[in-house]
């Protein structure tokens, strides 16, 4: 199978999976044991109002017809109307996405920045105290519930040290002193681009605790997996050969092995994305972050099934695409691995 064939096949299976995913989210949402129309207009609704909204939402049609309508709307980029906010689900997702992405990216950035070096060092000093230390730290990272770590950090950095803000994305007063001009929707970058240092500092301080909370799990995961793939690389013949030729250990570790461990690290980042995405739900709730996570939790608790459907679908699509891209990148970097 050549590279082109592989890419086509991979794209094809992704599309099949996405169709399945759409059916599954649809079915999950239809299990919801309550009257959607009543949720839409509230508990004091008159029977005639419920009947009107049931019709308006198309809930009086048979299930396969509802699915067809849903798919048709989906292909036109319409995820339906949120029962809770009465706005299009797509609009809700779009409006909240920049905040969540900023959090997610800074968390992932932190995780890679700390996790990869930890893993490399750990592999380099395998079996030494440093390795054990990294092992403990990374396992602690994956064992700490985000919803508890967030609270601990709030207690420590806000209540005890008065160092960092308790919650929110920016200080409420910022819009009067140095308002952020939105360009990318990522406040950190927007304030940087406009050289708005006051805002930059404020955004940074607000972003810090949520990012750390989000990153903890991924740091552990990335460190462990980087270590594993590094060790595997150090076992390879050409590394042994390099060693035999007297190339210095440090050079081997950092240059040869790391370069080759890059491709498994990509896989790791793909996997970590799923954890980080669900991690944002907790982090956003705890730090009152105005993103997709809070909206998700509210929709889940409020039985807002079009929103649940939209978000689940969106999460799955994002996840499938990330994995697809990771696979394709790998095929490009290291043809041996993916063509197996």
């Amino acid at each position: 199978m050549n590279k082109f064939e592989f890419i086509l096949r991979r794209l094809f299976t992704s599309i099949i999976v996405l169709i399945g995913v759409s059916i599954m989210t649809f079915l999950i949402a239809r299990v919801v044991p309550s009257n959607a129309a009543e949720l839409y207009i509230g508990p004091k609704a008159r029977p005639e109002d419920i009947a009107r909204v049931t019709k308006q939402l198309g809930l009086d049609k048979p299930l396969p017809v509802q699915y067809a309508v849903y798919m048709n709307e989906l292909l036109h980029g319409d995820l339906g109307l949120s029962l809770g906010t009465k706005r299009p689900v797509l609009t809700e997702i779009r409006d909240r996405l920049p905040a969540t992405l900023e959090l997610l990216l800074s968390g992932m950035f932190l995780a890679v920045l700390i996790g990869v070096p930890l893993g490399v060092l750990s592999a380099r000093w395998q079996g030494k105290p440093l390795d054990t230390g990294v092992r403990i730290i990374s396992i602690m990272g994956v064992s700490m519930p985000a919803f508890f770590l967030g609270l601990l950090l709030q207690i420590f950095f806000f209540r005890d040290l008065h160092l960092l803000p308790l919650a929110a994305r920016v200080n409420g007063n910022l819009r009067f002193t140095s308002p952020i001009v939105e360009m990318t929707g990522f406040f950190l970058i927007d304030s940087l681009l406009t050289r708005n240092w006051v805002a930059f500092k404020d955004v940074f301080l607000h972003l810090f605790l949520p990012s750390v909370t989000l990153a903890a799990y991924s740091i552990g995961l990335i460190a462990r997996m980087t270590r594993a793939s590094m060790l595997e690389m150090l076992e390879q013949d050409y590394i042994r050969t390099a060693r035999a030729y007297g190339v210095r250990d440090a050079v081997i570790t950092y240059l040869y092995a790391l370069k080759n461990a890059l491709s498994p690290t990509l896989t790791i980042i793909g996997i970590t994305f799923a954890y980080a995405l669900t991690g944002t739900f907790f982090v956003e709730v705890i730090f009152n972050w105005p993103g997709l996570g809070q909206f998700t939790v509210r929709s889940l608790l409020g039985l807002d099934y079009p929103a649940i459907m939209g978000i689940t679908l969106f999460g799955a699509v994002g996840y499938v695409l990330i994995n697809l891209i990771v696979d394709l990148l790998q095929a490009w970097i290291d043809p041996r691995i993916s063509l197996k």
């Binding site: 044991p33 309550s34 009257n35 009543e38 207009i41 509230g42 508990p43 004091k44 609704a45 008159r46 029977p47 109002d49 292909l75 036109h76 980029g77 319409d78 809770g84 906010t85 009465k86 706005r87 299009p88 797509l90 609009t91 809700e92 779009r94 409006d95 909240r96 996405l97 920049p98 905040a99 992405l101 990216l105 992932m108 308790l166 919650a167 929110a168 200080n171 409420g172 007063n173 819009r175 009067f176 308002p179 001009v181 939105e182 360009m183 990318t184 929707g185 990522f186 970058i189 994305f273 009152n288 105005p290 809070q294 909206f295 409020g302 699509v317 994002g318 695409l321 990330i322 891209i325």
Partner: protein, 546 residues
Amino acid sequence: MNKKSIFFTLLMVAVLSLSACGPAPTATQPPATQISATQVPATAAPTVPPTATPPLVLKVASTASFETFDPIASFSVEAAYMPNLYEGLLRVNPPGSAEKYMPLLATSWETSTDSLTWTFHLREGVKFHDGEPLTAAAVKQSIEAAKDHGGAGFIWAPVDSIDAVDASTVVFHLKYATAFELIVGSTYAAWIVSPKALDAFAADATYWEKGVEAGTGPYMLESYTPDAEIVFTKNPDYWGGWTAGQYDKVVVSIVPEATTQQQMLEGGQADLVCACLPTESLPAFESNSNYTVIKDKSFFNYIAWFNTLRPPLDNVKVRQALSYAIPYQDIITIAVGGLGTQSRGPVPTGVFPWSPDVNQYTYDLVKAKVLLKEAGHDGGGFSMKLTYTASNPAEALFAPLIKDSFAQVGVDVTIEPLKLAEQLALGRRGATGEDMSLMLYWPTYADAGVDNLWSLFYYTAKPSWNLSYWNNPDYQSLIDKATTSDQATAQPLYTEALNILVDQAPGVFFYEPLSVFVIPNTVAGFQYNINYPFTYYFFYNLHSAK
């Protein structure tokens, strides 16, 4: 760019920026800029010449956002802001005011002797925010739309027809007498909306989703960022005029956490917070001379229904016994830190037709045991399923207190938290439903006779809210009479009905929580109005006292 391509561009942006682990230059796509477009006025602020006086801004932190911008459909937390954007014909003043009603879009009104014809004279020269003039036709169209498909459209049930007699006179013809001013002053389904916007909505069902408004109120909507911020700006042409010290802009930060709101109030990030600070924080504010703490009656009531279709709850003595076995004071202490009073029936104090002549149960386990014995259930020996609304933190706290107290009279309680919709659905299953369900209830508008007393305990075979299935002919006929009379005639009828209700105990009447406001001395003009329980602040009434 069509919606579909936005969707996929967005996904690609998300995905690409993730895999690149850095800022995506493509993120300046329409989705992102569209959001910022709503904030242009704010970002333009720094370009104002330095000599101009900066706008006077009121900063509010609140839990409430907009669940809908449709003033006709509005039946939820957006009531916190609607009265600033929209006006009705009149507003109901808080109890004890010199005048019972404040004229808004109507300057005066009168009723016929049989109370069946109500004539309202409209204010001259009022314009909607979109430039349309206020006319009798606009009023007729707004109310008819509300009656037809309003979220709380049922409040207009007594109205037979509406006539726009001339440009500034509206006449309502009623099917039966009622406390009509209270309906007209409702915070739901009674806003007068620009006919242009109503027509636009009729033509395009997504009209309100864009986040627009078309009222006559003192403030206009400037921008809305979901889950983050709402900005209001003053309507310079407001008919009431403006005086120095009133706020030019109101910026609302949406903050779900009470603790965070407290921090914002203390740190000056917020001038006002919605009435939901942690009760533990109040003593500190009370002892601080920079704040005034106001505690007042509220529109709310915690009640429970006993399902009288399920034995032994069909026995009035069992219901009375259980009513005596409720630790009312402990419940108030734990659930709201003592900031509440025991209810007299399901009508909140300060709301029509509350009466001090209605009886209450005490916490008396001995009496409870005696009554159980008389009912043939000596030592209890039966079990009950109790449901409550899971999203309500107070109910989560006091439901276990009920369980423990009932255990002392030998009644075993299983607690089940449910979503409100599930709770109601279970209750509507009749004899196969739950035994007892807790509910926080408030009237749709300031008439707890037509609402609470009818909705909660008037028997209908297929109830929407009377989950007790209690059917008492005396109560039914008193309510029938009272709900079709004017206020003065109705009050004694309601009081009599309330005492039957308390005596027969088809439900439990726990407590009404107090409304608590912490107002810094830098903000003046605040007056609490119980009749608009979700409207914490009428921005127009406030002015800076700095």
